[in-house]
Amino acid sequence: MIRIALLLATLLCFPNLAVTQVVPEPIRPTEATPIGALPPIALPMPASRDDNYWGVRLQIGQRRERGLEDLLAVAGGIDYQVRGGSIFGVTGGYQWRQNCQTPGDCGHSLYGARARFNLITAGPTIAGLLGDDGATSTLGTELGFGYAPDVNLGENACTLDLGVPLSIAMLERLHLVGFVTPGVVWELDCSAGDTRPERSYLLGFGLGLQQLGFRGLDVHVGVQRIFRGATGVQFGVSVSWIRLP
């Protein structure tokens, strides 16, 4: 386990150097809305079935290696976890073009709504192989809608996404969670421009620490790749807090 963690830490600390292109890429709808602008996050940790829980979330993500301009997004969200399982959330934030090459079009707001359903929350089926019989595996599905106005000189971006996230939480004292979030995004035509609706696949993964210092406080770092064009690699940090009784 420690070897795997060290390997992942090394990969996260020393990402590949940027592959520079000469022409700034337009921001794709998938990059502009929360699904691609913000880092992936693990499925929620289960809690007592007796209550519903409110929570808040802060996310910061940078999409790099996409040409002349990197993208930086900061967002906040409110989540509602139903009876200790599935979670519903709304997100609002802002995305900047770094090294902006198009004056007057260097940033835009972004909004999203997301439902994440914990389909199977089970024991150490996989993690047990690594010797932790208190581990928890969670397989779920998520459905999200994203909207970002005025992305590329007046164009709006709309996306609908569907994912099948998997999380494995391990260790007793320090709750380490590894997660992978494969999904598909449909770029919807919600602008007067000539954006052609397209479908993209994406894959995110990352590590997190649950109950970090306080009950209900989780921190995740995530990496995400969209398998289309020069969309680069997204990585970032998410901090979420669920209010527990």
Binding site: A9, M45, S48, V74, G84, T121, P124, T136
Partner: protein, 369 residues
């Protein structure tokens, strides 16, 4: 404003990178909960409470762990040991009617547990849903038969079924600083007859049980360690909490009273919690899910223990909840609570097969020493 935005834009990647590195390194250095075997001076231990549940399917060929290990530990000081069986003492359906093919095997199952109580130690069996004829119509009579079986196997020793005669309880026992309050939670959930002309229970209604429980968890003085024991847990990350397996999320729609998410179960747990309000017991101990879980109780009770891994053939999955301090799934085991003279309550969890460091896998001072 513009410069502030510039600062944010420029410095954010650096913070993100630092965050990534820090998290990665912390993760890399993470280690398993280290258990230090704390040798308690025997003369300072007042009472030792062993918690084992759902042990009603012992191996017919041999007495293996965890029962034999529990016996060995209790035999070291039987005069201060209480072995508390947390229900489902006989799988699959308690004691059947005499003449049934399963009768002899049912007797064998309870006999193996009675034999595990060393001479001089006290044994208490709490009824579970399987003891109530697997929640069936013969349940009340199966409980009475089990009580008779235990009495006959005890041969005058201090071993009994509590609450007795199919009554809901609560029944309190005071041993030194310990007040042990036993409940029959299946009485609350049973869909068939729960009393008849020979019941003569001191409490016969949900309101009366709750009221009596409220009184019994409030012993005079502050020094008492109150432990409430029953078969059904207040919180669980196991199958009965609608976790584990593909059917987990859908169990909530089944309305099974044995599951945490059913309305009848919720109603029972709300009543129990209301009785604890204002004077929380130190522990609520239960079985039902076949795992070992130590959970935070909240405002109404300090700790929730699920120790239902008494039968190696029955162990099952459990997940870590936000309330969990410790979880062990798919391993048999039991818990041991040492109540010290004066002050201090130490919980220890033993799991079989053990780790390379031994069977002791978790320990925690529930009351600081």
């Amino acid at each position: 404003m513009r410069s502030l935005k510039r600062v944010i834009v420029d410095s954010a990647p650096r913070f993100a990178r630092v965050g990534l590195c820090a998290l990665g390194l912390v993760a890399a250095s993470a280690c398993r909960h280290q258990v230090t075997l704390e040798e308690l001076p025997p003369e300072q231990i007042e009472t030792t409470l062993f918690l084992i549940g759902d042990a009603g399917e012992p191996d017919p060929r041999q007495v293996g762990p965890p029962l034999d290990s529990l016996t060995a530990q209790a035999a070291a000081a039987p005069e201060r040991s209480i072995i508390y069986f947390l229900g489902d003492n006989i799988y699959p359906a308690g004691i059947p009617q005499e003449g049934a093919a399963e009768w002899a095997d049912a007797r064998r199952r309870i006999e193996a547990q009675v034999r595990a109580i060393p001479a001089g130690a006290q044994g208490i069996f709490v009824p579970g849903n399987h003891d109530w004829a697997n929640s069936g119509p013969f349940g009340l009579y199966a409980i009475r038969l089990q009580e008779q079986f235990i009495a006959s196997l005890a041969r005058g020793r201090n071993i009994r079924l509590l609450p007795s005669n199919g009554c809901p309880g609560p029944v309190s026992i005071d041993v030194g600083r310990l007040r042990l309050v036993s409940l029959d939670t299946q009485w609350w959930l049973h869909s068939f007859i729960v009393r008849d002309s020979v019941s003569s229970c001191p409490t016969n209604t949900v309101g009366a049980v709750t009221s009596a429980l409220r009184e019994q968890v409030r012993p005079p003085g502050d020094a008492r360690i109150v432990v409430v024991g029953a078969h059904h847990p207040l919180i669980t990350g196991g199958e009965h909490g609608s976790y584990c397996g593909v059917t987990g999320p859908f169990r909530r729609f089944g309305g099974r009273s044995q599951d945490i998410m059913s309305s009848s179960n919720r109603s029972m747990r709300d009543s129990l919690r209301s009785a604890f309000r204002g004077r929380p017991p130190l522990m609520f101990v239960a079985g039902h899910d076949h795992s070992l879980q130590v959970l935070r109780g909240g405002d109404e009770v300090d700790y929730l223990l699920v120790s239902g891994a008494g039968a190696p053939s029955k162990v099952s999955c459990a997940v870590r909840l936000r309330e969990s301090y410790y979880v062990s799934a798919r391993s048999a085991g039991f818990m041991r609570v040492d109540i010290m003279k004066g002050k201090g309550v130490l919980l220890r969890v033993f799991r079989y097969p053990g780790r390379s460091t031994g069977a002791l896998v978790y320990s925690r001072w529930l009351e600081p020493r």
